[in-house]
């Protein structure tokens, strides 16, 4: 594609307020039309310069035309937000993000309190919970940027996805550390219990209590590990959804770049 036409396409891309991959697909469509137009004009006897000038003129979009094009793909929420002033819009976003964080924190806390997660918890289970809240918050914020605000750059698109992956890794590590911590706390009892089991003598009252406490420990550990695994699965799911979405966006963008460069 000719240098001038590429420049024009970049100019249109900068002006278009559309979400990906819609934007890349539209640019791909325009690039195709531009190129065919250029081929037809040059083959009909126009010089390269004249053809470029003609195409740049015909492919010029006014602000209202670009807005009309963007409006086709606006959701009802976006239409509503578009009516707010920029100052009010940014204030609304800040309040929205704080509210989202509070709701996510409240719901996660309530769920884990109900499952008596915090009753047997240690520092690692709190870190795991924090990781989950962070991942959900990042996920919701990313969705907002992708589908409502739509002002992202391809180069910075993956920044927060790394944070979600880190949260997942931290949760997995926490799950393992919780296990180690709990095993370490019960280890002396387990040793005594194993001696009791080996011993041919009948089980004493102290032995029965020991059995009970070991069973309780097992249940506590089960609750902690199951909840941490649920957290891990949720974070993996979030990462998977985000990664899949971003891959589609990147793919559309790469496709466009490859077509335009040829």
């Amino acid at each position: 594609m000719e240098q001038e036409l590429r420049k024009k396409l970049r100019e249109i891309s900068g002006q278009l307020k559309l979400s990906e991959p819609v934007k890349s697909r539209l640019l791909l469509e325009i690039a195709g039309d531009m190129e065919e137009s250029w081929l037809n004009l040059t083959s009909s006897g126009m010089t390269t310069k004249e053809a470029e000038k003609e195409i740049c003129e015909r492919f010029s979009f006014s602000e209202s035309e670009l807005a009309e094009l963007a409006e086709v793909y606006l959701s009802p929420v976006q239409r509503l937000l578009g009516r707010l002033s920029s100052n009010l819009h940014s204030r609304f976003e800040k309040i929205l993000f704080v509210l989202v964080l509070m709701v996510v924190g409240f719901l996660s806390g309530r769920y884990f309190l109900r499952s008596s997660f915090f009753a047997h918890s240690n520092i690692f289970s709190y870190i795991g919970t924090l990781c989950l809240i962070t991942a959900i918050y990042v996920f919701l914020k990313k969705l907002y940027v992708l589908y409502v605000r739509r002002d992202f750059e391809i180069t910075t698109l993956r920044y927060s996805v790394g944070l979600v992956a880190f949260c997942g890794l931290m949760t997995a590590v926490c799950s393992f550390l919780v296990l180690l911590d709990k095993v370490a706390s019960i280890a002396p009892k387990l040793i005594i219990l194993s001696r009791t089991v080996i011993s041919p003598q009948p089980l004493t009252e102290a032995g029965k209590n020991l059995w009970t406490s070991v069973m309780e420990w097992g249940l506590e550990l089960g609750v902690l590990e199951i909840n941490l695994l649920i957290m891990l699965m949720l974070i993996i799911f979030i990462w998977f959804v985000l990664d899949d979405r971003l891959q589609r966006i990147e793919q559309a963008s790469t496709e466009l770049l490859l077509q335009v460069k040829t």
């Binding site: 539209l26 195709g32 039309d33 492919f59 086709v72 040829t262």
Partner: protein
């Protein structure tokens, strides 16, 4: 009740029926559509791409036309549009509206 054209939105209605009428003859991509329109109208109608793309995408969203991507011989991907059955019905309705509009216009101008 008689279907009427919104006189405040004449240009848009006109562009819409032009695009639908051209697509009723066969599938076209944006450039072909602009070219065909000029050719068939003897350069009377000349739409800019700033008009064509929002219109095509709006019609596609409304379900009157359908866009399909295809790889051409040059290995370039092109989006071709074709009229849907809903688009065909809409075109017929629009034709009636425009004929009604001209009838009334001529009655005033000719009278």
């Amino acid at each position: 009740m008689e279907n009427k054209i919104n006189v405040n939105d004449l240009a848009r209605s006109c562009n819409e029926i032009l695009v639908l009428a051209l697509l009723s003859k066969g599938r076209l991509h944006g450039y072909q559509l602009a070219l065909e329109l000029e050719k068939r109208s003897g350069n009377y109608f000349r739409l800019t791409y700033g008009t064509i793309y929002p219109l095509m995408h709006k019609l596609e969203k409304q379900g009157y036309i359908k866009g399909e991507w295809e790889v051409e011989e040059t290995q370039r991907k092109r989006k071709f549009y074709k009229l849907t059955s809903a688009g065909q019905k809409h075109l017929e309705k629009s034709k009636m509206e425009w004929l009604g509009f001209f009838e009334h216009l001529v009655a005033i101008l000719g009278g």
